[in-house]
Amino acid sequence: MATESSEGEEEGKLTGGSPVLSVDEDLREMGKKAAWSVSSCKPGNGVSSLRDDNLETYWQSDGAQPHLVNVQFQKKVKLQLVALYIDFKLDESYTPSKVSIRAGDGFHNLKEIRSVELVKPTGWVYVSLSGNDPRDTFVSTFMLQIAVLSNHLNGRDTHVRQIKVYGPRPNLIPHQLFQFTSTEFNTYAFVR
């Protein structure tokens, strides 16, 4: 799991950060199917900077805390992991320290599902949305909200450089309940 590879995670505290984004092969990025918006931004540092695959650019909020990133899907999706690129070395007091992740059908009924404390990370930090029970591996939701509650050194506005959200890959073979595990079955699964 990607969550285990990020260094020093204990009781919702995330330190370190990895320079390279590495995510389990079973997962796929779901953010491209969503509509993204932010509670506020400085001109030129808007929501698109969060999704441009460029670590040099960043979203900068321009308003009162909490600073919100809203990710809305057209239909209910399964989500398992959120990856954030945060850079304390460059962003200092703009670096988020407390982040809350909320899920719901829409703005009206968002509920916190995770909260994490970031301790001076530089790199990708991973927030798993899975519960301990395997049945709670995924969160099924229409909307995800990533809320920056506070920054390092009491900074007011925040910088986030990238956000990715991941869910399980769908079954390669449509209209079928379970995925195949054996070579015997997979050999015949597709015309080559």
């Binding site: 395997p134 049945r135 073979i173 379970f178 995925q179 195949f180 595990t181 054996s182």
Partner: protein, 264 residues
């Protein structure tokens, strides 16, 4: 190459002197490839290379066969399929440009069928699988997916019929058997489905989905002990995280009547 079995028989009747030429051996390799027999294909191609090492005939296909680690090859191939299916529009475009060059390119017709199946445009899927099937009426895999599309369109009898044809077209292909069980379950034929799956178990004892589906059937029939046993076996065979969640949820709700139809 469409009537691969016939072709193979014809090649095998050739006198040794003719059979053991690079060209014929390459054709034999290609034929085995079409028949999804990658081991025999490998054998034929390697003989062909020994006889005429400078011939390029069939070497493109040989390179596909030549992934020695079959499982890794499958994994790589599946990854490519994912990309094709997730980028629907690009997938459709490349298949269509292939079809402009050769309107009988059945792999592209089949590819379009798969894309539409994923988009849940089942009529389109059926149409393209039918076209692919008319070009290549021997492919058990195409028949099987035509059956899948018909099943999705709730035309169960036609689906069952096509699935049976897929089974007889290639006895080694386990997928239509599995699909038959799926269709039977959706038709509430709980007596016959386990029989089909039992047979599959012998063929692919490490296939988690067989046990998972059996678990679902026994759960539906209120045979809780058998259901638990099969769910447990399914979990032992390392299904995907998504399937682990589904199976555990079913185990948890064993005594609660469920709507199995939802999942099919």
């Amino acid at each position: 190459m469409m009537f691969a079995q016939d072709a193979l028989e014809a090649y095998l009747k050739l006198p040794h002197k003719h059979y053991n030429t690079g060209w014929v051996l390459s054709q034999v390799g290609k034929t085995y490839f079409e028949l999804v027999d990658y081991l025999e294909a490998d054998r034929a191609f390697s003989l062909a290379r020994r006889v005429s090492p400078y011939s390029l005939e069939g070497m493109d296909i040989y390179s596909t066969v030549l992934y020695k680690d079959h499982e890794t090859a499958l994994k790589n191939f599946h990854r490519a399929v994912y990309v094709a299916l997730e980028e629907f529009d690009n997938g459709i475009k490349s298949y269509q440009s292939a079809l402009r060059i050769d309107s009988r390119h059945y792999k592209s017709l089949y590819g379009l069928g798969m894309v539409y199946l994923h988009q849940e445009k089942f009529e389109f899927a059926e149409h393209h699988f039918r076209l692919a099937f008319s070009v290549n009426p021997c492919s058990s895999i195409i028949m099987s997916y035509l059956g899948t599309a018909l099943h999705a369109l709730k035309r169960s009898n036609e689906a069952l019929e096509m699935t049976e044809r897929a089974i007889s077209a290639d006895r080694k292909n386990p997928l239509p058997m599995y699909q038959k069980a799926n269709i039977l379950v959706s038709l509430d034929c709980f007596e016959n489905a386990p029989e089909v799956l039992e047979e599959l178990k012998e063929y692919a004892p490490r296939e988690s989905s067989i046990y998972a589906l059996m678990g679902m059937i026994y759960k539906r029939c209120n045979m809780h002990d058998k259901a638990m046993l099969h769910f447990g076996l399914a979990l032992d065979l390392k299904p995907s995280a998504a399937d682990v969640a589904t199976i555990k949820a079913a185990m948890e709700k064993l005594h609660v009547p469920d709507e199995i139809e939802d999942s099919f």
